[in-house]
Amino acid sequence: MTASVTHTSAPASHHYTTLGIDSRKIAIWAFIGSECMLFVSLISTYLIYKGRSIVGPFPHEAWTDPATGHVLKPILNIPVTSASTFVLLMSSLFMVLALAAVQNKEKPKHTRGDRILGNSKLWLWMTAAAGTTFLGFQAFEFTSFVHEGLTIRTNLFGSSFFTLTGFHGAHVTAGVLWLVTLLAIDYRRGLGSRDSLLVDIAALYWHFVDVIWIVIFTLVYLIK
């Protein structure tokens, strides 16, 4: 069937669109615009409250408890978080490869390298695994902070830090679930180039969540 021809030439077709692209692609961009404002609100609050906590622990400075004389070290562990950031950034690369693999599914594969690059399941697994690893790092970070005496109730830093990074972690979790859903579809019936859009919108979301992390990592961890 000349499906593509009927889609574009017959205005009576249900799938006529003004821009000639699928509506889901526009909707995900609108959604991402909205998500930007969500994180702008969270990040602004974090920055407004930066340095305004009355009691420690603090992110970048040591704090002496006047009651007990205990010295609490700066709480952020930048090397560990740098590692988790690297993993998350790599996941974006895997996502790009997963999308390319789905888009080129029907193209002939000649070499072993072609076959690896064209393996959508592999790259979707890698992306989901990298996301899960990032979440593991975050779980480790959160528990160690609680052990060191910083909870969401301790001070302004604790409230705004856990809420901001927790919201980001929730977004990564949603992304991992999305990727697992795509994997399930891939195993059940195989993702082909006709499904590019499904992977494309998931990838846009995934990259967005990554970009937000770069902003958070810079503003929360790197800038003192």
């Binding site: 017959a10 009576a12 509506s23 909707a27 909205s34 969500l38 609100s41 906590s53 001070n155 409230s159």
Partner: protein
């Protein structure tokens, strides 16, 4: 076009052409039926919020009255504001977005019909959630703006504020889902030739409103998350006492949302009136491009004026000057709209229908509200007016005189398109004049009681402060509204059954929605029209008229025309139900969170994995 070449598809069992009965409404994905659901639900909440206002005015009718307690009075004014803004005006606008956007741009439905149903059901359930507590006197009582730290646990220990926080959070989901949907629809489902600068002005204003929703709602979502966390988990976002939190954080976040929200409330009414005035003046809208640009400018500036709600907190001269100036600036594009409407009517062949009367009254009354708005854009003047009845007068002139008058203009104008029958003009005019008199009698004296220093949100007052007469006038005016509404409702339901048959274009309007039968068939357009002008009926070329003739034919089924219709589905309702149950778990037992999440996720996957419509190849 190739319509004849398409063979008739075999329909799945779920879809049937003629639809009636409860199940068809619960499972509908048709934008027109969802629009009607929004209309009925929002009218119900409008009357409920009105009833709250009537009790408020009865309490304030004379000094030292004790009809209701101070505590219940707090719940009344909080719920009056919350109901009117989130459960009445926004959903009434959404009713028109739903019904009109696809018809005005020449589309068969919105971009995501099932998401559209989801938005409605979330709105309905959230509306019930936030409204029911007032029957048990545990309704939200912190004002529609819910200022923290006042609304944090130490100062508001009851469940009242929890209902408000969670209710608004759920309503946000509904508004955002609808906004993504309409935004995509307007961008991507316009008929061939329907360029942006040919779109009807209502669709343009709707487009701008969706952008505002997409950008403003996340901010209040976060402000509410902070408040929810403070109340439920003991975080410190608004803990000014022991954690050193900033007492202005909530106010900034709330008003960054809250001021764009004002335009979310009024721009749809502006859009409706921009359809009404040209139709009954028999002239195209004056200065169409300027109307578009001024709408965009209002939206952009709307994000830069929020702190004019906060002059009284003492932000310093620089902030006061900046926000005073931006507020004065925003009067310019608004004023441009007023002048363009007047110029549209000038020298026109004006017909004073009920719709036109409501439309003209918007121009007049919104101007009064706009002018008092400019008065308190000046910080020194605002310090005298803030938290007085002068402000109450101001925002009722813009929200009642603007939004509600515009929405009534829209209801009388579009009723024949929605129901296929005309509303009774005689009753309509009685409704209009009663509303007009009631509106001015209620709200105009508030300028004076406010200037004489009467503060907002007090449940009673002493005699002899010069406020008695003005309050008696306001209360007398408020008692007229129920009579006006009773006439409207009677007219609405009688006309729906026995009104004169409308035909496709009873008012001689010029835009696409009037080329199709009334009520429109489920597929809207038998063939997607090709558009060559802003008013295809008035100034279109032969191709427009040919499309219009084809689309005016009645009685064709989708099967006759080879149009694939989406399946009806109950799944969006269940996703909405799961979502609301999940949120209910936050204030009842935590187990409900799991139950709700399970229902939601199961229904969501079931929805996403089932096809929207039959295969058609």
């Amino acid at each position: 076009m190739a319509t004849t070449a398409i063979s008739t598809p075999a329909y799945g069992g779920e879809y049937s052409g003629e639809q009636s009965g409860l199940w068809s409404w619960l499972s509908t994905v048709d934008h027109k039926r969802i629009g009607i659901l929004y209309l009925y639900t929002a009218l119900f909440f409008f009357m409920f919020g009105g009833l709250e206002a009537v009790i408020i005015r009865a309490q304030l009718g004379a000094p030292n009255q004790h009809l209701v307690s101070a505590e219940f009075y707090n719940q009344l004014f909080t719920m009056h504001g919350t109901t009117m803004i989130f459960l009445a005006i926004m959903p009434l606008s959404a009713a028109f977005f739903n019904f009109l956007i696809p018809l005005q741009i020449g589309a068969r439905d919105v971009a995501f019909p099932r998401l559209n149903a989801f938005s409605y059901w979330v709105y309905l359930f959230a509306g019930i959630f936030i409204t029911v507590p007032i029957f048990f006197a545990v309704a939200p009582n912190g004002g529609w703006f819910g200022y923290a730290p006042l609304t944090t646990k130490p100062y508001s220990p009851g469940l009242n504020i929890d209902f408000w926080v969670i209710g608004l959070q759920i309503l946000g989901v509904s508004s955002l889902a609808a906004a993504f949907n309409f935004l995509t629809t307007i961008i991507n489902l316009r008929a061939p030739g329907m360029t942006l600068m040919r779109m009807p002005m209502f669709t343009w204003m709707a487009f701008i409103v969706q952008v505002l929703l997409v950008l403003a709602f996340p901010v209040i979502t976060i402000a509410l998350v902070f408040l929810l966390f403070d109340r439920s988990f003991g975080t410190n976002f608004y803990n000014t006492v022991s954690a050193g939190a900033d007492p202005l954080l909530w106010q900034h976040l709330f008003w960054i949302f809250g001021h764009p929200e004002v335009y979310i409330l009024v721009l749809p009414a502006f859009g409706l009136v921009s359809e009404v005035l040209p139709t009954y003046s028999k002239k195209p809208l004056f200065g169409y491009p300027v109307m578009v640009y001024s709408g965009i400018l209002i939206a952009v500036l709307g994000f830069g004026v929020w702190a004019h709600h906060m002059f009284a907190v003492g932000m310093g001269p620089i902030a006061d000057t900046f926000f005073g100036l931006t507020t004065m600036l925003i009067a310019i594009p608004t004023g441009v709209k007023i002048f363009n409407w007047i110029a549209t009517m000038a020298q026109g062949a004006i017909r004073y229908t009920t719709s036109m009367l409501f439309g003209i009254s918007l121009v007049a009354l919104f101007t009064i509200g706009g002018i008092s708005g400019i008065m308190h854009s000046s910080p020194p003047a605002d310090l005298q007016q803030t938290d007085t009845y002068f402000i109450v007068a101001h925002f009722h002139y813009v929200l009642f005189g603007g939004s509600i008058m515009g929405i009534f203009a829209g209801i009388y104008h579009y009723f024949p398109k929605i129901m296929g029958r005309l509303m009774d003009e005689k009753l309509g005019k009685i409704h209009f004049w009663l509303t007009f008199v009631a509106m001015n009698l209620t709200f105009f004296p508030m300028h004076f009681s406010g200037m004489l220093g009467m503060p907002r949100r007090i449940y009673t007052y002493d005699a002899g402060q010069g406020w008695d007469l003005y309050n008696a006038m306001s209360s007398a005016g408020a008692m007229i509204f129920p009579i006006a509404m009773a006439i409207f409702i009677y007219n609405f339901f009688v006309s729906r059954k026995r009104g004169e048959i409308a035909g496709s274009n009873p008012w001689g309007a010029g835009t696409l929605e009037w080329t199709i039968p009334s009520p429109p068939p489920e597929y809207n357009f038998a063939r997607i029209p090709t558009v060559t002008s802003r008013y295809p009926i008035w100034e279109g070329k032969e191709v427009d008229h040919a499309d219009a003739r084809f689309n005016a034919q009645e009685g064709k089924t989708p099967a006759d025309l080879g149009i694939v219709m989406p399946y009806n589905t109950i799944k969006p309702l269940f996703v909405a139900l799961g979502l609301v149950i999940m949120f209910c778990g936050l204030i009842t037992t935590r187990a409900l969170i799991g139950v709700g999440a399970a229902i939601m996720i199961f229904s969501l996957y079931s929805w996403l994995l089932s096809p929207l419509e039959p295969e058609h190849h």
